[in-house]
Amino acid sequence: MVEQAAHVLSWHARSYRKSWRATITVAFLNPLFFLFSIGVLLGGIVDEGRADLGGLTYLEFVAPGLLAATAMQIGTNEGSFPVMAGLKWTRTYHAVVATPVRVLELFLGFFGWVALRIVVAAAIFTAVAAAVGAFRSPWAALAPLAALGCGLAFAAPIAATAGAVENSSVLTAIFRFGILPLFLFSGTFFPVSQLPAALEWAARVTPLWHGVTLCRELAGGTAELWPSLGHAGYLAAFTLAGGALAIRILQRKLLK
């Protein structure tokens, strides 16, 4: 099973060699632009070590948020259109399951590839953020893993959705009306306590908020064991439930 999934993963890696240029803006450049423009430059203006930020500088506050949000974006991008393409556009998933590879193995290979994409981007971002002094604690070294959890918590349910829906406009709508507002309002750029109570509550149930908070507490050195496990468990629950659903949907679509 692992071996077959690895073959599927290496197929994705091979395809990526042809198309990596198209992904570097979302995965690498945009997050770094945000880090410098908002974290370093804007942060330099607004910083007075405000209590609202839990004693962090704005750079220290926003960098882990950007890390989690970047993971979310890679997870949604890689989990959405590529799945629809494999099922409906280029139909390459149908080619895979005509071989001894099973749908479960196809999914695991795909998902492993998405995980790799997220973790590499997160590691690079973390290294750059550390270099500009955005982290207080050595626990920041675990932040890429927290970001991975955040990215997969999006990738899995999005993959299930991309498998289930007939029309790519649904995915476009999710990006516009789901992911973008999450990016802006789920604690990446400001504490959710700034939001009206109802919206604050809504922000706290999103996986992004848990990912952001976990990354931020690790990087800021304020992480405590049980709350951190709580965040990680929340992200894992989204990943597992979304993944199980995605596998069932792919089975239904590929083996009908």
């Binding site: 139909r91 149908h94 080619a95 005509a98 071989t99 001894p100």
Partner: protein, 313 residues
């Protein structure tokens, strides 16, 4: 390629059924394919050919009946069966971003073949499928015929014991189609077991040792192309082609001429043992076709005589 094992069972189907919701796409078909033969499913769009092929390919669970492929049950031994199949699906599903060679490499890995072996086989297969000069080309800009040949090459990478070809030449221009036929004919000569579907009677006639005629989910006739023609239709056909609007009443006037009369939108077909005599008799009845043609009966005529409809609408 797999020669030998001549006559060993490859596929056995009894009462094989596929339902989608309450629609029955394949309605209790019986057939068997043995090693070394080329077996065809001939039928119009919607007959249930692809649904049958997908059940054989262990990518579609059957709704009823019995099915054994390599004497294994696809419901239980999907990966084992698929490991020995070469599948050319109705719609190409190559990775368009990768090169011709990479498509073979990636696919071969799914069969657990080492890269070095795939490399060797890829060179042979690309030469055989006349794609050697495209080895390093991206797939996307290739012509439809080349993509089809690559799909066939890809299906051969695991040296399958059985090839499933779903409409191998549909959508190709005549030249590309002949190139594919030529390659399939060579595979057949090497002893590869081929199962193909088609709605082209000439394809079925040229390639198949034995075929079943499918219509609306059922098998309506079975035999070699020659048998089917001998059993179901007369030796020759007189085709009377009419200009628009001039065909009305002609069938009535032709009553009793030849052995069997079929009327289509723009022509009347008369089945007969003696085309010349029948044409003369028809002309005596005073019908005025725009043109006439005497030809040998084909599988198209078999289908028409059984179902009253043409293969290609």
């Amino acid at each position: 390629m797999s020669s030998g094992h001549e006559g060993e069972p490859r596929i056995q189907a009894a009462g094989l059924t596929k339902r989608f919701g309450d629609f029955t796409a394949v309605d209790g078909v019986d057939f068997a394919v043995v090693a070394g033969e080329t077996f065809g499913f001939l039928g119009p769009n919607g007959a249930g050919k692809s649904s049958t092929m997908r059940m054989i390919g262990a990518v579609s669970p059957r709704s009823g009946g019995a099915l054994r492929v390599f004497e294994l049950d696809p419901a239980e031994a999907g990966p084992e069966i698929r490991a020995r199949l070469g599948v050319v699906p109705q719609e190409d599903n190559l990775d368009l971003e990768l090169t011709v060679f990479e498509n073979l490499l990636v696919y071969g890995r799914y069969f657990g073949l080492p890269s070095s072996l795939i490399r060797e086989r890829a060179d042979e297969l690309l030469a055989f499928m006349q794609l050697a000069d495209r080895r390093q080309h991206r797939v996307e800009p290739l012509s439809g015929g080349m993509k089809r040949r690559l799909t066939i090459a890809r299906a051969l990478v695991n040296e399958p014991d059985l090839m499933l070809l779903d409409e191998p030449t549909t959508g190709l221009d005549p030249q590309a189609r002949h190139a594919v036929w030529d390659r399939l004919y060579r595979l057949k000569q090497r002893g590869v077991t081929l199962v193909l579907t088609t709605h082209y009677m000439d394809e079925a006639e040229q390639l198949c040792d034995r075929l079943v005629v499918m219509d609306r989910g059922r098998i309506v006739a079975e035999g070699s192309p020659r048998d089917l023609i001998a059993r179901h239709v007369e030796r020759e056909v007189v085709e009377l082609r009419f200009a628009a609007g001039t065909q009305d009443g002609a069938v009535a006037r032709l009553a009793g001429v030849g052995d069997r009369i079929e009327e289509l939108a723009d022509r009347i077909l008369i089945g007969t043992a003696d085309g010349d005599a029948t044409l003369a008799a028809a002309q005596d009845r005073g019908v005025e076709p725009e043109s006439v043609l005497i030809r040998r009966s084909t599988l198209e005529d078999v289908f028409l005589s059984i179902t009253g409809r043409t293969l290609i609408d």
